[in-house]
Amino acid sequence: MLAALKRPGLARGWFGFLVGGGLGFGLVVALRAISGLEIFQTEPTGYPHVVVPAITAPLGFLAGIGCFDYWIRWAIGRPTVPEDHSQHGAYSWKDYFRFNTDHKVIGIQYIVTTFFFFFLGGLAAFAVRAELAAPGTQIVDGQFFNGLFSTHAAFMLFLFIIPIFAGIGNYVLPLMIGAPDMAFPRLNALSFWMLPMAGLIFIASFFVPGGTFDAGWTGYAPLATGAPLGQSFFNLGVQFAGASSIMAALNFIVTIITMRAPGMTFWRMPLLAWANLSTSLLIVAATPFIAGAQFMVLFDRVLHTNFFQAAFGGDVLSYQHIFWFYSHPAVYIMILPGFGIISEVVSTHARKPIFGYRLMALALIGIVVLSYTVWAHHMFVSGMFSWLRVPMMITTILIAVPTGIKIFNWLGTLFDSVLHLKSTAMLFSLAFIVTFTIGGISGVMLGMVPIDIHVSDTYFVVAHFHFVLFGGSVFTVFAGIYHWFPKMTGRMYDERLGRIHFWMTWIGLLGTFIPMHWLGLQGMPRRVADYAAEFGDWNLVVTIFSFVLGLAQLVFVYNMVVSWKWGPKAGPNPWRAKTIEWLVSSPPPVFNFDRIPRVVGGPYEFGVPGARHAILEEDEGAEIKPAQPAVAGAAGAGEAAT
C-alpha cells in the first residue's frame, strides 16, 4: 500500500488530492485565525475555506499522479534520463489510468473521458426537455432547472466538444504527419489529466450549499457575482478546462510546425493538420480571456473587488466583452477541427482529392482571423455602444464567405467521385453538409442586427447553435470516431448499428431543433423553466424527438464497446486511404514508426495511378535515399526537456 503511494499513479494521485485539499483548507483557516477573522466565512458568495481547497486539491492530484515528477527532478538538479520512456505506451488496460506520455494513450483517454461528460450533459438535457414537455412546473423547480441547462452547456462545451477534438487530434495527428509523438509528451499528459479535475469541480458544485451553478454557461455578471457557492466552482472548473486546452494547443502548434516528416511541406499537409493548427492558434490567443473573465468574477465574489459592481464604479458590460472575446473564437475552436475531419473522411470515402485544397486551407486561416472581429454580435441588444453594432454585423456575415467556400468545395469533391455510402463516417459527413448549412443560414440571420433584435435570447438562438454544434461539430466527431475506430482499436465496428445510430440521430436532430426556430420567432425566450401555454404543442414535439436523439446515442456506445472487445480484426488500411496513419498497423506500434516516413506527394492523390503520399520503406525505389530526420526532436519521444 505504501509502495503504491511512493510511485506516481492513481493511488498517489488521490492521496495528493487529500493532501492538497488539506493544505489549502489549513492555510485559509490558519490565516483567518491569525487575522482575527471569523474562521468559516459562509456568505453565499464566499466560503474561502472551500474555494481554496477546490484549487489546491486538484493540483495535489495532478502532482500525485505524476504530472510534475520529471520536471521537478530536472528543475532541482536531480539526475534525469533523457530517453525515459517508462511512462510511455499501453500494454494493458491499466496504462490508461495513469500518467502516460504516449499520444495514442492520451488520445483514447481524452475520447473516453469526454464521451463520459457527453453522457452527463445529455442526462441534464433529458431532464430539461422532460420539464419543458408541458407548460407549468412539473419536475424541477426554477432554480434547479437553471442549474440543469447551465451544467448541460458547461459539460458539453468545456468538457466534451472542445477537448474531444484535442483527443482525436492527439491520436491521429502525430501519425498523420509521420512523427513518433507530440512535441511535448509530458505536457500532453498533463493537459489530459486537468480535464477529469475540471469535471470533478463541476460535479462537486451539485453538492455545495446553494446547489450547482445556475447563471448559464455564460455566467454573466452581476448574476454570477452574487450567486451562491456553486458559481465559484464554475469559475474554477473553467480554469482547469481552459488550461488543459491551452497546453494542448501549444503542443499541437509546435508539433505541426516542427515535427512533420521530411517532404511534408505545408501544401502537402492533410487538412486535419491545417485544421488543428488553425484551431490551436485560436485557442492560445483567446482562452486567456475567459480565464480572465472568470477570475474577475471570482475576485468580485470572494475578495470583494468591484469589477462588475455598478454601484461601486464597476462596468457590468465589460464582463460580456471580455467573455465573448474568447467565446466567439471558441465556437470556431469547436468546429474547425471538425472541418478537418470531414475533409479526411470525404476524400477517402469518395476516392477523390479534396476540391480546392489550397483554398480550403486558406479559408481556415481566414476564419481564424475574422473570428476575432465578431464577438459583439452576441451583444447586439446588450446596451453596448450602439455604433459597434454595424461593423460587428458586417464582419459577422462576412464569415459566411470562407465557411461557404468550404461547403461548396466539399460538394465539389463529391462530383465525379466513387461514393461509399455504406460507411457510417461518410453518412455523418454528408448529413453534416446539410445541417451545417442550415445552422450557417440561421447564423447569418442572427448576424443581421434588426433580426437579432427580435430573436436574440430566444429559442431561435438555441436552434441555431444546436444545429451548428450537434448537426455540425458532433456529427464531425462521430464521423471521425467511425473513420479512425479501426486504426485505434484494431477492430471494425458494426456498420449496421452505425447506420441505425446515424438515422436515429439525424431524424432526432431535425425533429428536436427545427421547431425551436418557430418557437423563438413566436416569442419563447430561452433559459426558461416555464413558458406561455401557446408554446406547449411544439415543445412536446421537441421533447419527444429529443428523447429519440438521446436514445440513439446508446446504440453508438453499445457498438463502440462491443466492437472494441469482439469486433472483427481490422487491417492497417481498411478504407484504402492515403495518409500516413494508414501505413502502420492497427493499432499502431508503441513508437509509431520504425523509420521516419518520407512524404513524396499530396495527401489526396486518388485517381492518379501509382501516386503515393508517403513511403515507409527506404528500399522502395532505389533512387530514394533514407532522409535524415528534419529536426533533432523527431528521433526520440520525450527528448524535449519541457
Binding site: 448559464g216 460538394l411 462530383f415 466513387v418 427580435h454 486518388f606
Partner: protein, 254 residues
C-alpha cells in the same frame, strides 16, 4: 444540368412557400415590426435558395456517383477549379454585403426618433417590472400605451441584467444595472411605436435568476381616451422620481 437547375428552383419554391406562407412569427403590433419582418422574409427567400442549391447538388451527387457494390476504383483526380472558386467567393460576398446594407437601412429606420414621443422609465428587478410615466406622474406594474405613440423607453435594472421584450413589437433591449449618471455609458434608451390595440405580454429575455421564467408584465395598447382613463387610476410618482424606484406613496389616485 438543366434538370439540376430546375430541381433547385422547385425545391427553392417549396421551402420558400413553407417558410413564408404560414405565419411563423408573432403577430405584428408595432411600426418597427414591418421593416424587421420584411428583412426576415427577404433573407428567407435568399437562404432557401442556398439551402436548395446545397441539398439538390448533394442529393444528385449521392445518387449519380454512389459506388456500385465491389467497385474499388478511384474517382477522377480533379483538384479544383479556379473559376468556380472565384464564383463561389464573389457571389456569397455580394449576397451578404447586400443583406448587411439592407439591415443597416432597417436598423436606422426602426431606431429613428419621432418628433413626439412619450417617455416611460422601465425598471426591472428580480422578478418584477415597474413602469414610471414621468410626463403623467404615475407609476404602475402594467405597461399601457396609447396606440400609435412612439415610446421613448429608458431602461434601468436594479440588481442583475434583465431584458425587455414584447415579441409582437419585435424590439428588445437589455436592462443593465448602472451607477448614478450612467458612467459606463450604457445605451439604455430604445424607441418603439406600438400601432395595434390589444393585450400583450412583456417577458424578460435575459437569465436573471430563479424567477426568470415568470418575470412577465401585462402590456395594453389602447386608445388615447382609454389610456387617459387608466392614468387617472394609477399611483402617483414620488416627486423627483425619474428613474428612481423609491416606490409610490400608498394612497389611491383621484
Amino acid at each position: 444540368m438543366i434538370r439540376l437547375a430546375a430541381a433547385i428552383v422547385v425545391l427553392w419554391a417549396i421551402t420558400t412557400a413553407l417558410m413564408l406562407i404560414p405565419d411563423w412569427t408573432a403577430l405584428r403590433a408595432s411600426r418597427e415590426a414591418d421593416p424587421i419582418d420584411g428583412l426576415l422574409k427577404t433573407t428567407i427567400v435568399i437562404s432557401s435558395f442556398v439551402f436548395s442549391l446545397v441539398v439538390v447538388l448533394l442529393g444528385y451527387a449521392v445518387w449519380r456517383f454512389r459506388a456500385k457494390p465491389g467497385d474499388e476504383s478511384d474517382g477522377k483526380p480533379i483538384h479544383g477549379s479556379t473559376r468556380l472558386e472565384i464564383i463561389w467567393t464573389v457571389i456569397p460576398t455580394l449576397i451578404v454585403l447586400f443583406l448587411g446594407a439592407y439591415s443597416w437601412i432597417v436598423l436606422d429606420d426602426i431606431e429613428s426618433e419621432a418628433a413626439e414621443s412619450m417617455p416611460v422609465h422601465v425598471i426591472a428587478q428580480q422578478f418584477a417590472w415597474k413602469f414610471e410615466y414621468p410626463e403623467q406622474g404615475v407609476v404602475s406594474e402594467e405597461l399601457h400605451v396609447p396606440v400609435g405613440t412612439q415610446l421613448d423607453l429608458r431602461l434601468t435594472a436594479l440588481d442583475v441584467v434583465h431584458s425587455f421584450w414584447v415579441p409582437e413589437w419585435r424590439i428588445k433591449r437589455d436592462l443593465v444595472p448602472m451607477a448614478e449618471g450612467n458612467p459606463s455609458d450604457v445605451d439604455n434608451t430604445v424607441r418603439v411605436t406600438p400601432d395595434r390595440e390589444g393585450h400583450f405580454q412583456l417577458v424578460c429575455a435575459e437569465l436573471c435568476g430563479l424567477g426568470h421564467a415568470v418575470m412577465r408584465a401585462p402590456v395594453v395598447v389602447e386608445s388615447e381616451q382609454e389610456f387617459e382613463q387608466w392614468v387617472a387610476e394609477q399611483q402617483p410618482l414620488e416627486e423627483g422620481g425619474g428613474g428612481q424606484s423609491e416606490g409610490a406613496e400608498a394612497g389611491a389616485g383621484a
